[in-house]
Subunit: 643 residues, 2 copies
Amino acid sequence: MEELVGLREGSSGSPVSLRELWGPYPRVRRGVRGGLEWLKQKLFCVGEDWYFLMTLGVLMALISYTMNFTIGRVVRGSGIPELKTILSGVVLEDYLDIKNFGAKVAGLTCTLATGSTIFLGKVGPFVHLSVMIAAYLGRVHTKATGESENKSKQNEMLVAAAAVGVATVFAAPFSGVLFSIEVMSSHFSVWDYWRGFFAATCGAFMFRLLAVFNSEQETITSLYKTSFRVDVPFDLPEIFFFVALGAICGILSCAYLFCQRTFLGFVKTNRVISKLLATSKPLYSALAALVLASITYPPGVGRFLASRLSMKEHLDSLFDNHSWALMTRNSSPPWPEELDPQNLWFEWYHPQFTIFGTLAFFLVMKFWMLILATTIPIPAGYFMPIFIFGAAIGRLIGEALALAFPEGIVAGGVTNPIMPGGYALAGAAAFSGAVTHTISTALLAFELTGQIVHALPVLMAVLAANAVAQSCQPSFYDGTIIVKKLPYLPWIRGRKISSQRVIVGHFMNCTITTLAKDTPLEEVARVVTSTDLAKYFLVESTESQILVGTVGRAHLVQALQAEPPSWAPGHRRLRDLLAGGCPTEPVTLQLSPETSLHQAHNLFELLKLQSLPVTSLGRAVGSVSWVELKKAISNLTNPPAPK
Amino acid sequence: MEELVGLREGSSGSPVSLRELWGPYPRVRRGVRGGLEWLKQKLFCVGEDWYFLMTLGVLMALISYTMNFTIGRVVRGSGIPELKTILSGVVLEDYLDIKNFGAKVAGLTCTLATGSTIFLGKVGPFVHLSVMIAAYLGRVHTKATGESENKSKQNEMLVAAAAVGVATVFAAPFSGVLFSIEVMSSHFSVWDYWRGFFAATCGAFMFRLLAVFNSEQETITSLYKTSFRVDVPFDLPEIFFFVALGAICGILSCAYLFCQRTFLGFVKTNRVISKLLATSKPLYSALAALVLASITYPPGVGRFLASRLSMKEHLDSLFDNHSWALMTRNSSPPWPEELDPQNLWFEWYHPQFTIFGTLAFFLVMKFWMLILATTIPIPAGYFMPIFIFGAAIGRLIGEALALAFPEGIVAGGVTNPIMPGGYALAGAAAFSGAVTHTISTALLAFELTGQIVHALPVLMAVLAANAVAQSCQPSFYDGTIIVKKLPYLPWIRGRKISSQRVIVGHFMNCTITTLAKDTPLEEVARVVTSTDLAKYFLVESTESQILVGTVGRAHLVQALQAEPPSWAPGHRRLRDLLAGGCPTEPVTLQLSPETSLHQAHNLFELLKLQSLPVTSLGRAVGSVSWVELKKAISNLTNPPAPK
């Protein structure tokens, strides 16, 4: 206690006090105090970023868990496409506003409470919620410390927040980070990746810790624990089937992406539906939900769709390590009246249809039901349904294989029966990977199930699925960006030599508006009123056109309004405005007409730029922005018709 | 057969032949031919990159496996620091020369054949070998197709090659890619990451496939399979011990890195040793090997070091899922005369010393033996020894905990004994992660063992270890770069606001040599002979100093030599040389004095640049290269003394 008192005195910066000199063990106390000071300094120098990331992780875990808990007892937008756009440098207003937070949480809870009726998940909205909190915390921090806002730092935090979002849904820190990186950006720094890991680990730890505290689990384990055979989880020839499954998932994902984009476009353009959506969203939602609910009604068609299972139970049952086909070959259990928690897979079995009929019917129905569900304007995620859909594809093929080779594939004397659960795992990873154009879904499958015995086959299935999907269709998120007409920068695909020869001079915007220092104020006023650019290039003189910097329109307007109304026309020039305090910004980076398209594209992607001036011999000759780059890239793939 | 003949005719571009018209089933044949053409086109449009990556993966797997196989029956450089330097844009000659390949493979096989005597691994050299092959294949491809060399593509291939190197040693594609990215670069593109996965998967698949073909394994499984309890692998309170273990590993790694760097510096500066190393490398190697071998001689001191175990057996035994302390508490097995393959852990037990004595002795001895071994000029990897060292730390702490809580930590009624193998896993990941400043070692631990049940505790241990190590010491690879004085660009650590205010104008190199178009040839000749820059800035005129482009020294010298020797002094100017065909290069990117240090640093890191011109109002006013950037960054952390 005395140490503490002394410490408080000492740390308040007062000189050595009498008590300190005369108290017992002055040396020890000084040592302790020094140590604490050192620790304080160390903790402080670690940087508040890490505390920030930890707070974010813990908060998101609390929300995720509370939501799961609420659903267990009892506003449209997937979130990821918008975030992807923001991270590439565009400002979308409202998206990061904390005011939407409560509505989103409540809406999402309601959506998820419907279970597998509407068949939607929570990954996308969780990414959105996490990003909202991060933006809010960032603003609070900026206000508290008085630091100026730092754009690049904000971006780093948003990437970390996206990782937290994924990690707190699945309690999977590794794949959370990798998935958010793959989906969000085309380039990233190792530094971001470390932040992401830290935040995601905090989030995942907290999320699973709550399950332990609530006595659901004895310790921190995986969400969908599987118990696949470890010794020989699959035989070598099965690798071929895994790759084939990946290719099938890739083809189906292309079909899904195409139908989904087409239907979304149809809903946007169809006069009746778009009017309905614009005027009475609840009516449209209710109609769509009614269609979905009547189909999934368990005593009706729903019994062929395993619709009594929740999303979690769907996955649990599909990853089951027994072969249903072999178990029901000789005996046919009746359709159970009540859900049997020990044998969830009974839901997938129907005496007449067999499991093959049920699984195939599930796939066909969910295909269009999922597409219909994505048009309902409610906050919901589309990752989880896609993951389950893929698992059902894999299960179907796995069961077919198990039936075709009931003794397993004989290789090396010992026979091991085929485990359809492994195929379900590979199918889930491959289909979700193909739809989102990511590879980290393979890792997600392992983190979710706690087993990594299928490492190579699952990875190969995901690679095969991605090879098919990426060469045919834009990803789910890019597709949504295209349909919603959000701004984005396409990739330069196919690294052909011809694309290396395209230079900025070929595609830059040559009709730029420059303001010279000797421009008369009348001319400045005319330019400001007749154009609506945010910034003008400032050049040394009308004759030389040497680029000096940029000047903001708002500042110009302000300075012009402050001018006395009675200036003699032709006498005062822009130079006088600048001397009068109108601020200008220096140009920190400039291209030349000889810069290649590749270099310009890299610069824009890496530095999240909006536009850059082009100079030749110091003269401003043009500008390049997203619009020009996009046009140049699309001309690469579809060369313009010769004029 | 007929189809094939027809196909060959058709595909050779000849017009429709008689045979084609009159042969049987003309439609079917045309359909088949069309399908094959389509497939050919599809395969071709996939790009030869993917074939290249597959070849690379398969080749490295073959080498890795053959080497393992050779060692099972029967120079200097870790490779990674040099590769890191090359990837940041510097050209190190010889490093990528295929001629060193054979020598490296043979040398490495010999090193590894010594087993745990010299206690070295093969990760680093394998990365080097893989990069050599990639560079060689790239050159062959360039020659065959006649395309010009593409620097950025080469870099992409080198990153993928590094991933293949790691993946074929451990058969771990995920961590192979992530580890190589974390170690090699500070920024990377998702595109590189996909390439890396593809190549690493091919490599890992081939590597494990060979084990199956050689009847060592029944199917493709992990390298060091563990059998940890799955239900409750650890109790919740143990998380605390895992994090503490991580912190301990971090502190020990700092000690190791410090001693290693100091000793390497000592060897370089000590007159006797450096002379010995320069004149008679074999003698030094023999002396060091003799010291190491005499200590690890199994009947002598070696029996306290488990030195009869190979590197692989070290890991297998340390990851054992029984507690040795509990098993030897009541009974004390005698020291076995022969190695018992079923009970490898007996090697770690000594009746008098107990396992704690042996493990502690192992740690103390291997600490300095490993540092000594790193100075031997032989090709060898230092990752594997560090991984094993970490596993021993974890095992020691795990056994101590198992002895302290023999009933396990009671939480929630059921008691589960502590598994020291889990601590060994966490220790291995944390120590190797701290030494290399990476997080992906956690993932490596799971991929190696095929179990991911310890996901969160291991990740938290690795994060704790990294937090300690990164704030105190440069990584193993950066340390080697510093000691070897290889060029590299430091990070901007500690994102303080003060660093945002530093602009290019503060630190650029202002004493630049410009050549104006109107410079007399005598002056050009003087400049070319008196300076040794590779490139000169070309400006419009001596007066205006408007930057036009760059001109290479070699080209200038060539053009000067081609001039008739009798030109009248003062008459001919640089302009005439340029008109005569001396090539110039346009400036594609330029900075201004107002560009911030952060922006310039990002540009250099992201675009792998060597130097950039600085212009103000179009005039060349300076240049920025690595040297200036490095100085500016080091001034940020150690502000220069006021003059």
